[in-house]
Symmetry: C2
Subunit: 255 residues, 2 copies
């Protein structure tokens, strides 16, 4: 443990927050059929960061029951999914959240009444947040909360038609790994959340801290927010051939 | 849902297993202070795959209590971690496992008596497995189970000295994103598990299936198992300058 304490002190001394008052209390929304990597992709670097700077995590859901990634009310040939344990509920949320992170996944296609508590929570919390971050189709919950109206945002390119339908007043960016508009960071599909969170960590705590953590977890970052080959693959820019795009789109209509 | 059923049938029809009898029952070991991305990086693509081919997942731990990522018995300035819910225990494991996946993380540095049940489980299960896969320092549990003796394997490059100490009879490969020796796949640190699982999915169900899922989750794969810039950064090859390496190594001594 001695080595680790040395690390904590050394790393803490190394981190220079870019914010005068960097965020401390981070909340992560989860719901049935959330996309696993939308949650744990960004959380892994934040877990690392929390060893050297003070960060508190709340996992917020409709109830305190474990929440599973398994597709709900649809047939699959498998019994395959993972459950995460919430620490708080929308009805009894943590106090003084600085950051709220919203994942996507098949669960964002659930009936609106099932999603309304999460949508209302985002709407209620946003005015007091330092940062609001979405991953993948989590942006559709932000859009339905109205907080993206008149703003630039992005989301999963394979689900583009669904995404746009949830925010007619949002300036959806069809080709972007992530988009920053004010204090709202929206990232593209699933794995894009990892690049987005590293960019955000760099923005708040400095690029050196981000690079250090990326090297720790052996992750090669995409550092250009306009890098997005998936915009072409899923034809959100209208430049891919329709047949090719539709053939690839089929499997992700529900994402 | 109709769209989704269409997807399942279409995708299922599209998947051509390379194995005559592809694996169905997958077990994932978890322990306190596991690395979140070591588990959910590979599981996210497998979650996707499970929508179109039959796969069953068991999360196996010392008990059925939720298992947290938070560093155990070491001081951090934070209260930050996520809990996953096991479905089985080492004492009462699932029947007929085809694949066992072992993550790494700070928890692999726990006292040996705490790790012994996982190590014994790996040793007992291995003879009946089709595949044994490790991510990051999960390879140290395989090494301590003796199943890597005389084999080529890799692991987290930042923890290389620790890794080598756990398997004196293992042919550790100092520069590799992942290594395949027989039916044992070992991947490098954390994020390398994502590239490793995509390569494995390609091996079992075909590269087209792997590419389809990677495009779905907007992940740019590293498809060359010898791609490993982190071997240089962490100086496992002895080619980086010692000061530079040691300065970077400090924060990950305990990973």
């Amino acid at each position: 443990m001695k080595q680790f304490v040395t690390f904590v002190l050394a790393a803490a001394a190394f981190v220079h927050a870019q914010d005068a008052e960097p965020p401390v209390n981070i909340g992560y929304i989860v719901f049935p059929s959330f996309e696993a990597l939308d949650v744990f992709g960004p959380l892994d670097p934040l877990n690392m960061l929390s060893m050297s700077v003070p960060l508190n995590l709340s996992i917020i859901a409709g109830s305190l029951d474990p929440v599973n990634t398994r597709p709900v009310s649809m047939a699959t040939p498998s019994f395959f999914g993972e459950s995460i344990v919430p620490s708080h509920t929308f009805a009894d949320p943590p106090k003084n959240l600085d950051v709220l992170i919203v994942p996507g996944g098949l669960g964002t296609r659930a009936p609106i009444e099932q999603l309304q508590p999460a949508i209302d929570f985002i709407k209620t919390q946003y005015p007091d947040l330092k940062y609001l971050i979405s991953v993948c189709t989590g942006a559709t919950l932000l859009a339905r909360a109205g907080v993206l109206d008149g703003r630039r945002a992005t989301s999963n390119k394979a689900a583009w038609a669904f995404v746009k339908s949830t925010g007619p007043n949002v300036e959806w960016v069809p080709q972007a790994r992530w988009v920053v508009d004010g204090n709202i960071w929206t990232t593209s599909g699933v794995a894009a959340g990892i690049d987005g969170i590293f960019a955000w960590i760099g923005h708040v705590w400095g690029e050196d801290t981000s690079l250090r953590i990326a090297n720790l977890i052996e992750y090669e970052r995409h550092t250009d927010p306009s890098w997005d080959p998936f915009a072409i693959i899923w034809n959100t820019t209208g430049t891919a051939s329709a047949p090719a795009a539709s053939a690839k789109l089929l499997p992700v209509i529900e994402i």
